[in-house]
Amino acid sequence: MTHKIVVDNVYKIFGPHPDKALKLIDQGHTNEQIMQKTGSAVGVAGVSFTVDEGEILVVMGLSGSGKSTLVRCINRLIEPTVGKVEVDGVDVTQLSTVELMRFRQKHFGMVFQNFALFPHRTVLQNVAYGLEIQKVDPGAMRERSMQALTQVGLKGWEDSYPAQLSGGMQQRVGLARALALDADIMLMDEAFSALDPLIRRDMQDELLELQERVKKTIVFISHDLDEAIKIGDRIVLMKDGRVVQVGTAEEILTNPANDYVARFVEEVDMSKVMTAESVMVKPSALAYFKSDGPRAALRKMQKAGISSIFVRRDGKIIGMVTADDAAKAIKDNARDLQSILITDIQTVRPATPAIELFPILAGINYPLAVLDDNDHLLGVIIKGSLLAGLAEGLQTGGNS
């Protein structure tokens, strides 16, 4: 089977003396030594890997590991110093400026960490950008852009401007912009890293769902091992511009290539790494102290099928109300929630380890609120979701 993308021994040196730096890399000097001797920074050093058609390859590493530079070497937003990048057997590094432009139009859709949407264009015009510069006729352009917007669930927002959208929605536009092109490769540079944890998880799920239908070849950059494990068919682990290990999540977790990888992997050890943040779910309803009385609160609980509801005032969670109390309050003709508000509730921070959640949950019979430092509600934990989250984590993370 031929590979869709072949990255062959690619180097990228930033700075004045690439030749000297290359020689020093060969002699096994570290990046700091090379920086001291030549004033050049090593972005990527001798990276080789392949990507198969329809595969999601996650390039993962900490910041400064050269992963963003690497993905830009594939479509030559950054010119590799030496090395070859082949797409469908065509050596991208040999293309002339004009050929490269055409090649990008045809093969690469790209999604950026900070969305990089054009602020002066509407959502639809943003999505249509790639088609517009290919001079696709307006009718087809509109149709294909609307189709891409529908795919990411943003139908009805086409005439808004990016600034009017939330972060998650903006990145959907970014995704649609890349999808509309019908390019066969998607380069996603930390596409979900700027999003809130819950939205990030939704977007990951949606990407996987979308991939079932569109079957693109995806190179996904991430600094988050959980994300890499979740969406990557295979993972390329990078450090200091070099590849440390390539393999499936399973292979990397069970068979780390060296200490560095092992230490990384340790971090996904379930009991230690699952946190409140990774097992929380969206609250199905919230009561607002200022506007909701007992009736409204009860109705919200009935609709959502829950027996207690958290109460919010000025963006902060101030307590909760149970269905029983609300029903009583209605009988007593109470107008607000003040009399039945239970302020003494258990809360945790997003970084609380999952293992510590069990004893807390055992002692209460209502959900546990996950609050950030400003008492904003990030999510809730119910017994069921904690177990489900752990089970899911054990499935993907495996060995321990």
Binding site: L100, R104, F118
Partner: protein, 279 residues
Amino acid sequence: MEQFKIPIGRGIEAVINFFVDHFSFATKAFAGVTENGINLLVSAMMFFPPWALILIFTAISWLLTRNRGITIFTMAGMALIWNLGLWDPTVSTIALVIIATLFSIMIGVPLGIFAALNGVFYRIVMPVLDLMQTMPAFVYLIPAIPFFGLGPVAAIFATVIFSMPPAIRLTCLGIKQVPQELVEAADAFGSTKWQKLFKLQLPISAPTMMAGVNQTIMLALSMVVIAAMIGARGLGGEVWRAIQRLEADRGFEAGLGIVIVAIILDRIMQKLGSRAKKQ
């Protein structure tokens, strides 16, 4: 020390003389064409009776700004000018400013774009702009005469030199301020340089460019007044005459006319700029 004076002045004079000797036929021909243009614009504006022109200007200011205050000021200010008997010089001042600004923008905006996209040109042009802006404005009047002859075209030449720097500078600044990640996104989708320029860089830098155009207009207005010394007509001419005859009353009235024209142009342009920003 002085016997070894470095002949900067003489050198510049030699260069100017050379150009005058060899190219003045071209500049004079250009002067003829431009002068016809100015006359055409002036007589077109003079074709209307003052009250009609005032209404036209008022309507334009309403259409451009949708601001009641600015519109009323335009009407009242111009009516006052008419009442002071400064109508004809005001019309020719406005004509000079319009033409000089058009030239400045036509030359300045492309230069600004080029400076933003080309590092070498940027490093050359910035010190030149500093020089152009610090040099006393009167100096530009001197070489203008041998090239274009005494009169409004020489005035426009000096005005364009004096008022062009902000157009170049702010166009360049606006384009450089376009976030790098947006430029990268445009590149990633395979845009040509021109597509990037017209679909991304120019629209996003529009508010900054409008600020540059506003400054250009203000500088043009102030220079058109100074250029009265070499035969530009208009409100500057009135001021110049008042100085020579020591007529404080006439001088103040003409000065007031200039202030009114300046405020009208400035407010309209500012409104346009902030509207561009909103988009």
